[in-house]
C-alpha cells in the first residue's frame, strides 16, 4: 500500500518491495513474511474450523447421521493437527516476524533468507497433509496424538505422507526459532538489556528455545514410526519386542512443551495490551520473566501427566503429579500480576483489551481444570473424557486464539496505517466470547458425566449438552468470518492511524509511523 518504492534518485532497488507475485515468493522482508504467516494461519484456522463444524454437526444428536466413524476420526485428527501446527504456531511466528524487529529496534530479522524458506515450507507441508484426505484409505485417523500401534501397524496408507508433512513443519519451526533467537540476541537496539526487553520478546525468546529443544524429539518419534511402518523395525510393536508406551513417553516429551509453545507468546502479547489499556505500567515485570522461565523449565518434567492411566509405577505417578501441580505457582503469579496491573488503572475496553481480559479470565478457568487434572487419582476419572477436551480448548481457544486476536487488533493500526472498525470488532468479540463458552463449558459437564472423547456417537444421557455445545460451536465458527471482513476493511482503508494510536501503549514499535517503512529501523534507536 503506502510502503511502495519511492523514486528518489539516490535510492537503490533495495528500498521497496518487488512487484507482483515474486514480491511474496522471493521476499526476505520481515513484514511481508509476517503477513504471509498470518494469512496462512488464518486460512488454516478456517480449514481446521470447518472440520470442527463437521465434528459438532455429527455430535449434534445421538446416532450416526452425517459422517461415518472412519471419516469422523479423520476429522478429529486433521482438526487437531491443522489447528496446532497450521493455525496457532504459524500465527505466533507471524506476529514474531512483524513485531520482534519493531520492538527491539532492528532493521529486519537476523536471517532473512532462511526466514523466507521457513515460511514457504509450511504451505508445502500442509498441501501434503491435506492431500491425504483424498488418498485411498483416507487421511490419518488416529487422533492428533497419533498413538502407536494405532498409527503404525493399524494406520492408513497415508500415514507416511503425514510423517513427511510433520518433518517439513518441524524443519520450518526449528528454522523460525533459530531466526528468533539470533534476532533477539544480536539485533537489539543499544541500551536494551535483557531485562529491558518487552515481554513479547522475552516470551518468544523462551518459546524459541522450547521449539529447538522439542521439535527434534517430534521428528525422532515420527521417524521411528516411519521405520516401523516401512522398514520392519519394532520400536512400538510389542510382538517384535517394542514398546507402545515408549511412543507416548517420547511424544509427550515433545507434546507438553508444545502446549506452552502455543501459549507463552500470548502471555507476552497480553502483558503489553493490559498495561496499554489500563494506562498503568505492567505489575511485576521481573517476576513475569521469571515465571515464564519457570513454566518453560517445568514443562520438560511433567510429560507423563498425560499418561496417568498407562500403568507407570507409583513413584513416577507421584513425581509427575507433584511437578504438574507446581506449574500452578508461576502461572498463578502471572494471572495475579495481570490483575494487579488492572487494579487502580484507568481502564478502557477497546477490542484488544476485551480479548485480553477474556484471555485472563478464561485461561484461568482452563488453568483450574488443569490443576484438577493434575491430581492423579482424580485424573483416572477425567482422563480421555470430554473434561479434558473442555480443559485444553479453554487454554487454547481463549488462550492462544484470543491472544492472537488481541494482538491482531492491537497492532492492526500499526501494520495497515488504518484504524479497524471498532463496532464490528466488539461484535466479533462478544459473539466469539458467548459462542466459545457455549461450545466448551458444557463439555466439562459431559466429561464429568462420563462421556469419552473421540467418539462419533454417544449414549442418550449426553444428548442435551452436546446439542448446546454444537450450537455454541456453530456460533463461534460463523463469527470468525466477521474477523476476515474486519481485517479486509482495515487493510483497504479507514480512519488514518497515528504512530501511537493507543494512548497507554509503550514500546519502540510506536515510535515508527503507521504503517512503518518497508525497512524498519535503518539506524538503531537509543534505549535509555
Amino acid at each position: 500500500m503506502s510502503a511502495v518504492a519511492d523514486t528518489h534518485a539516490q535510492d537503490h532497488h533495495h528500498h521497496g518491495p518487488a512487484k507482483g507475485f515474486s514480491r511474496w515468493l522471493l521476499t526476505t522482508n520481515h513484514k511481508d513474511i509476517g503477513t504471509m504467516y498470518l494469512i496462512f494461519s488464518f486460512a488454516m484456522f478456517l480449514l481446521g474450523g470447518t472440520m470442527a463444524m463437521v465434528i459438532r454437526a455429527e455430535l449434534f444428536q445421538p446416532g450416526l447421521q452425517i459422517v461415518e466413524p472412519e471419516f469422523f476420526n479423520q476429522m478429529t485428527t486433521m482438526h487437531g493437527l491443522i489447528m496446532v501446527f497450521g493455525a496457532v504456531m504459524p500465527a505466533f511466528v507471524g506476529l514474531a516476524n512483524w513485531m520482534l524487529p519493531l520492538m527491539i529496534g532492528a532493521p529486519d530479522m537476523a536471517l532473512p533468507r532462511m526466514n523466507n524458506w521457513s515460511f514457504w515450507l509450511l504451505p508445502c507441508a500442509f498441501l501434503i497433509l491435506v492431500s491425504t484426505l483424498f488418498m485411498s484409505g483416507g487421511a490419518p485417523n488416529f487422533g492428533w496424538t497419533f498413538y502407536a500401534p494405532l498409527s503404525t501397524t493399524y494406520g492408513p496408507p497415508s500415514t507416511t505422507f503425514f510423517i513427511f508433512a510433520v518433518h517439513i513443519m518441524g524443519i520450518s519451526s526449528i528454522m523460525g526459532a533459530i531466526n528468533v533467537i539470533a534476532t533477539i540476541l544480536n539485533l537489539r537496539a543499544p541500551g536494551m538489556t535483557l531485562m529491558k526487553m518487552p515481554l513479547f520478546v522475552w516470551t518468544w525468546l523462551i518459546t524459541a528455545f522450547l521449539l529447538i529443544a522439542v521439535m527434534p524429539v517430534l521428528a525422532g518419534v515420527v521417524t521411528m514410526m516411519l521405520m516401523d511402518i516401512n522398514f520392519g523395525t519394532s520400536f512400538f510393536d510389542a510382538s517384535g519386542g517394542g514398546d507402545p508406551v515408549l511412543f507416548q513417553h517420547v511424544f509427550w516429551f515433545f507434546g507438553h512443551p508444545e502446549v506452552y509453545i502455543m501459549i507463552l507468546p500470548a502471555f507476552g502479547a497480553v502483558s503489553h495490551i493490559i498495561p496499554a489499556f489500563s494506562r498503568k505500567p505492567l505489575f511485576g515485570y521481573a517476576s513475569m520473566v521469571y515465571a515464564v522461565g519457570a513454566i518453560a523449565l517445568l514443562s520438560f518434567v511433567v510429560w507423563a501427566h498425560h499418561m496417568f492411566t498407562v500403568g507407570i509405577p507409583i513413584a513416577g505417578q507421584l513425581f509427575f503429579m507433584y511437578a504438574t501441580m507446581l506449574i500452578a505457582v508461576p502461572t498463578g503469579v502471572k494471572v495475579f500480576n495481570w490483575v494487579a496491573t488492572m487494579f487502580r488503572g484507568a481502564l478502557s475496553f477497546e477490542a484488544p483489551m476485551l480479548f485480553a481480559v477474556a484471555f485472563v479470565i478464561l485461561f484461568t478457568i482452563g488453568g483450574f481444570s488443569g490443576l484438577m487434572l493434575a491430581i492423579a487419582p482424580a485424573d483416572f476419572q477425567y482422563h480421555d473424557t470430554y473434561f479434558v477436551v473442555a480443559h485444553f480448548h479453554y487454554v487454547l481457544v481463549p488462550g492462544a486464539i484470543f491472544g492472537i486476536f488481541a494482538s491482531a487488533y492491537f497492532w492492526l493500526p500499526k501494520w495497515t496505517g488504518h484504524m479497524y472498525d471498532e463496532t464490528l470488532a466488539k461484535t466479533h468479540f462478544w459473539l466469539s466470547f458467548i459462542g466459545m463458552n457455549l461450545a466448551f463449558f458444557p463439555m466439562h459437564f459431559l466429561g464429568l458425566a462420563g462421556m469419552p472423547r473421540r467418539i462419533p456417537d454417544y449414549a442418550l444421557q449426553f444428548a442435551d449438552f452436546n446439542m448446546v455445545s454444537s450450537i455454541g460451536a456453530f456460533m463461534f465458527g460463523a463469527t470468525q468470518l466477521l474477523f476476515l471482513l474486519i481485517v479486509v476493511k482495515c487493510v483497504k482503508g479507514g480512519e488514518k492511524a497515528a504512530a501511537k494510536p493507543w494512548d497507554g501503549a509503550e514500546g519502540l514499535e510506536w515510535t515508527l509511523p503507521s504503517p512503518p517503512p518497508y525497512h524498519s529501523f535503518t539506524t538503531p534507536p537509543e534505549v535509555k
Binding site: 446416532g63 485417523n141 478502557s348 459437564f445
Partner: protein
Amino acid sequence: MRVHAKRAGALLGGLLFPAWSMADWTLNMAPGVTGTSNEIFSLHMTILWICVVIGIVVFGVMFWSIFAHRKSQGHKPANFHENTVVEILWTIIPFVILVIMAIPATATLVDMYDTAESDVDIKVTGYQWRWKYDYLDEEFGYFSNLATSKDEIYNRLDKSENYLLDVDNPLVIPVGKKVRLLVTANDVIHSWWVPAFGVKKDAIPGFINETWTRVDEPGIYRGQCTELCGKDHGFMPVVVKAVPEAEYNEWVAEQQAAAERERELTEKDWTLEELMERGEQTYATTCAACHQADGSGAPPAFPALKGSQVVLEDMDAHLDIVVNGVSGTAMQAFGGQLSEVDLAAVITYERNAWGNNTGEMVTPKEVFEYKNQE
C-alpha cells in the same frame, strides 16, 4: 385449544429433539459405588471448591477494577508496578494450598495401587472392538460385544434406554470381594473404564496392567472404552454385573459347564447347514465390523470377502489368514480367539455366503488338525 397447542409442541419437540426426553442435565461427577470412587469424588470436590474460592477472589478483584477504575468514569491511574511482599505472598500461599491438596491425593493413589490379596482374578483383553474376559482360576472366558443394533445407530429404530451401553455378555463379579483385573490388549491400545468404580486402566498390547475394585452394591454398571482404538472406538462399552456371592458361584459353575460343552462340539459331525447357521452369527459378531455384513469390506484396509480369490479357491490359505492373521495389517490371528467350531463355521460361512457358493465346508476337526500340525 391449549391442549392442542401443547400436543403440537410436544410433537414438534419430539420430532426435533427425540433424544431430549431421555436426557438428563448432569453437571457433576457421580460419587460411584466403591471406596476408591468415593475417595476420588471427595478429592474432586475439594479441588473444585479450592478453585472456585480462588476464582472468586481473583475475578472479584478484577471485576471491581473493571467497574470502579474505568477511564470513562474519570478514574486517574495509579503508577505502582511492583511490591515485593505481595509478590512473595502470592507465590507462597498457592504453594501451601498445593501441598495441602497433595497429601490426600497421595494417600488415595497408594490405595489404588494396592492390588495385593485379591479374591477373584480376571484378565481383561481389549480387541478391536470388544472386550474379552478370562476368569483365570475358573478357566473359562468369553467376549463381550456391543448389543445395540445398527438400526438404532443409524436412526432407523428408536434408541433404547441403554443405547451404546449394552453388551451381550457382561462381566460378572461377586459383591464384597476384591476383584483384581489384569488389563491387556490384543491389537491397539484400549482403556477399560467404569466410572462408578473409579477404575480406568489402559489396555496395552504386550503389557499387563493391574488394577482392582471391590463393589458392595449389587447392580449393573456401565462404562466405555476411553482410548481411541480405531473406527468403532465409540462402540465397545463395558458392562459389569455385580451379583451376590451365591449367585456368582452358580453362574461360574454354569459357565464352566458351557465351556465343557463347547469343547465337546468339536468332536461332533457337523453338516454344511449347521455350520452356515453358526457361522453367520460368528461372522456378525467377529468379522462384520471390518469386512461388513455383506462381505463387501472397506478396501484398502479391509478387503472384500465377496468374490475374493482366497475365499473362493485355496482352503489352506483361507485357514492360514483366519487362524494366524496377516502381520502388519489389521487382520488379527483368530486362532486363539475363536473355538474350533466357530473357526470352522465362519470359514464355511464365508465360502458359501453372498453368492460365494463354493459348496465347500471345513469341519471343526479339520480346523483342530490344521492348528495342531503347525
